[in-house]
Amino acid sequence: MKKQKVVLLGKGRVGKTSIFKRFLQNEFHDNEVTTIQPQYLEKQVKVNTEKVTLSIWDTAGQERFRGLNPLFYRNSKAAIMVYDITDQESLDSLEDWLAELKNQVGHKIVLMIVGNKSDLKKKRQVSIEDAENLAKKVGAQHFCVSAKTGENIDEMFHELAKRVMKFVKENKTPLNTTKSRRNFALVNEDVETKKKKKKNNDGCC
């Protein structure tokens, strides 16, 4: 499967980069990290038997760069929208981010709303119901996550990979280029099956 672009969005100081780095640091089985940059990560996630490579782009959260962020949304298949559970404004601002995102990409995108810092339950300002309502409204899935403890991080990315795979399979665009690739792949499959047959026949007792 091709690389699927995922964008990390959210207000400044919400913990986007810390989620990004936690996902990088967690070494759960069957996943391979291909390239690492401070703001760019390529990681292979295994869903059942298939593998998806997620290329995750970390974006600037400061308000002065908000005008520049749409450049990063181009051709993205999924977006992780991060808010701070101790900051109500961060959840409110997500709607603006969403509007920007949909202006740039359209409605065809996998969305995840992620509440970070779930370890700070005492300082909680955002209720789970509000966040889930927003997620339902937007058609996204909600996760509560802690980058500090690593709670739910792997699960969240695994779910994301699953949904991205499903989304890609459902929305295969019949472009000229993709058509040709399909043909090419089909021919190769035939060749490979023939080779397998030969191998089967050539084996010894």
């Binding site: 913990g15 980069t17 989620i19 401070p38 760019y40 782009w57 600037a60 760069f65 500090k148 089967n200």
Partner: protein
């Protein structure tokens, strides 16, 4: 039970297929069967068992025991769930093994036993298989024959009989084999004859040498005898003279002349020497003339032989049988002629030897040998050159074609990517054939570029459409050829990705490079205003930023490889292919982030926010001309996959930095610089001076950051 199943308890494994093959003698014809069992656990081993059966008996019966369901089989529709595997097995059997059987044995009576009486579609299945086999194997006629009468069991039998065409083909093959054998025998005979001739020649040469030595010895003996005789005479006369002197007085002696050898003798000696010299000279002249004549004759003979051989080869293709006889006759004649010629030459040589000196002949022989050796060496060199030229031609043709399109075609073979470069070359060979329409399409694009880009709004879409169309055309036309490329190191899927990448790059190279200047000119016309904005902001910011870099943290200023990045970034304008341009951009990005990777810099300092500022600074310092046009070119004409990749990430961050630059055009630079400083200082992670504050802030606000916790601990 006629066919008792051979099954060991517990031998069956869950994911394995079991086959049972039983060979039978047909003479007994089902009345007295002697089953020989071969249990096979895997399909891989089926081939060997089959061969074993064929070795034992000419007649074989195959029994297949079904195991599991598999959807992939063609015959699965005709079976129950249990029997679907059987369908697959038979499918394999039909496709792979039948053709091999026909080569091994010409009379095979295959019986396929289908499991049990439960089978409902047996007859249909049998017919289907017969049709399949008859369609697959043109040599054989497969006929369905039910053995219900004989066995009272649901057997499926397939009778294979030979076609007449096959017999004819075999006869033809046999005839060809016989002809080849005859040719081989003839060649062997000729070789033997040649060897015999060589041996005879060697013997003759030895004899001639011995004779020469004898003659020389005789001559030496004669000469020595003559010399001794002359000396004796001289002594006698001297003694006589001395006696006369003693007897005669001094006056008489004074009148007498001193003794000299007689004139006749003297004259004879002189004349003999002169004659010998003259004879030698004449002999040498004659030898030279004869050698020249011999060489000419040999050359003529060789030419004749070659011509005859060529004729014979051509004729052999037409009529092998008739011409073999003729060739034999010709060869015999030739051999006879050669013999005669050789004999004549030998006779002449012997005559010469008798007449001439032996030393000259040895020299001439040596010269001949040397000449032959030189000729052989020349021929070998020629063959080598031909091979080299063939290999080079393919590459040169590509090179010429690409030169024709005025694009720079350089193959850089890196040590790490030898396989990929070989793949690249092979793909090039396949794509850029002179007969294909691809080159015509490329030339059409280059010549009619103005027409294609007449609509200013549709410049990029037209160009991208053209590129995509060409890529599709290449892939469609050359799928079969590209599929058979050798993937040495990589998997098939990986090699496919590589091939597609190569095709994309090549199409970009072929289409965009010759038109690059035109495209940039077009784009620069449309982006004049934005370029002006950039230039304006650059003018404003350059003096401030060179003085003060406060908006970038000090650690970043010292640690990042500024100079290398500033030098490297403007190089992307020199390249014309978007893929190469993106590669250079990613290289600069790597240079910046390398310090973090090496552990020289704290990861926190290089945020997504700071990263744009770093590019901002590099862009101001590097001073790239016509930057906006180049970025638009990349944005619209680079491959989407690349733009979604790491290279794309660096490119978008540059793009963001340029957009930031544009914003500065209409603002006061000093205020903005202060704003930048304040914004950078507001980020606690990025401020190097306020480490303690940053830690406290991060603990209070972003407890979730794992790195901050590490520092805390």
């Amino acid at each position: 039970m006629l066919f008792p199943y051979y099954r060991k308890r517990g031998s069956r494994k869950p994911n394995q297929i079991k086959l049972k093959a039983v060979s039978l003698q047909v003479d007994t014809y089902f009345a007295q069967l002697r089953p020989i069992h071969f249990q096979v656990n895997k399909l891989n081993r089926w081939k060997q068992t089959q061969q074993r059966i064929l070795r034992l008996n000419k007649w074989g019966i195959l029994i297949i025991q079904p195991m599991q369901k598999n959807r992939s089989s063609v015959f699965s529709n005709y079976f129950d769930e249990q029997d679907s595997k059987l369908g697959q097995i038979l499918y394999y059997f039909c496709y792979d093994n039948i053709q091999e059987i026909q080569i091994v044995n010409s009379q095979i009576f295959h019986l396929l036993y289908l499991n049990g009486e439960q089978h409902t579609y047996q007859h249909q299945f049998a017919l289907l298989i017969t049709e399949e086999i008859s369609s697959r194997c043109s040599v054989w006629d497969a006929r369905y024959m039910s053995l219900m009468e004989f066995t009272k069991r649901p057997y499926l039998s397939l009778l294979f009989t030979k076609n007449e065409q096959m017999e004819e083909q075999k006869q033809q093959e046999k005839g060809k084999k016989k002809e080849k054998e005859k040719e081989k025998q003839q060649n062997e005979k000729q070789k033997q004859k040649e060897k015999e001739q060589q041996q005879q020649q060697q013997q003759n040469e030895k004899q001639q040498k011995k004779e020469k030595i004898r003659r020389n010895q005789k001559l030496i003996a004669k000469q020595s005898f003559e010399a001794v005789f002359l000396r004796k005479n001289i002594r006698r006369r001297r003694s006589q003279n001395s006696e006369n002197r003693q007897s005669t007085p001094k006056k008489e002696r004074s009148n007498q002349k001193p003794w000299r050898s007689p004139k006749k003798n003297r004259k004879n000696i002189k004349t003999k020497k002169q004659q010998q010299q003259k004879e030698k000279q004449q002999q040498q002249k004659k030898e030279k003339q004869q050698q020249q004549q011999q060489q000419q004759q040999n050359q003529k003979q060789q030419k004749k032989e070659k011509e005859e051989q060529q004729k014979t080869e051509k004729e052999t293709e037409k009529d092998n049988n008739n011409q073999n006889d003729q060739n034999q006759e010709k060869d015999q004649i030739n051999t006879q002629n050669n013999h005669n010629n050789n004999e004549k030459v030998q006779e002449k040589e012997t005559e010469k030897d008798q007449n001439q000196g032996n030393e000259n002949k040895e020299e001439t022989e040596k010269e001949k040998d040397d000449e032959k050796k030189k000729e052989i060496l020349k021929l070998r060199k020629k063959l080598r050159r031909k091979k080299q030229i063939r290999l080079l031609r393919n590459y040169k043709q590509n090179f010429k074609r690409l030169q024709f399109i005025n694009c720079t075609y350089q193959i850089s073979i890196e040590k790490s990517n030898i396989d990929s470069t070989i793949l690249r070359l092979l793909v090039d060979e396949i794509i850029f054939k002179p007969e294909q329409d691809i080159l015509e399409k490329v030339t059409y694009f280059t010549q009619n570029f103005q027409k294609i880009t007449s609509n200013s709004e549709l410049i990029y879409t037209n160009i991208t459409k053209f590129i995509a169309g060409l890529q599709n055309k290449i892939i469609k036309e050359h799928i079969k050829e590209l599929n058979f490329l050798p993937p040495k190191k990589y998997n098939k899927s990986r090699s496919n990705e590589l091939i597609i990448k190569i095709i994309k790059k090549r199409t970009e190279q072929v289409l965009l490079i010759p038109v690059y200047d035109k495209i940039i000119n077009l784009i620069s016309k449309t982006t004049v205003k934005e370029q002006k904005k950039i230039n304006k902001s650059l003018k404003k910011l350059r003096p401030i930023i060179t003085q003060d870099l406060a908006f970038i943290p000090k650690q970043l200023q010292t640690s990042t490889n500024w100079k290398a990045a500033i030098r490297n970034l403007p190089k992307f304008i020199e390249e014309r292919m978007p893929s190469k341009q993106l590669k250079i951009i990613s290289e600069t990005g790597d240079m910046i982030t390398q310090t973090v990777k090496n552990g020289n810099l704290d990861e926190k300092l290089l945020n997504a926010d700071n990263f744009i500022f770093i590019y901002f600074f590099i862009l101001i310092k590097s001073n790239i001309p016509n930057l906006e046009a180049h970025l638009v070119y990349l944005e619209n004409l680079a491959a989407e996959e690349q733009l979604n990749d790491k290279e794309g990430f660096f490119f978008t961050s540059i793009r963001a930095a340029v957009d930031l630059l544009k914003d500065f055009a209409n603002k006061d630079p000093i205020i903005e610089n202060n704003v930048l400083n304040s914004s950078s200082n507001s980020n606690p992670n990025s401020n190097s001076n306020s480490n303690s504050n940053s830690n406290s802030d991060s603990n209070s606000n972003t407890n979730s950051d794992p790195n901050s916790n590490k520092n805390k601990n």
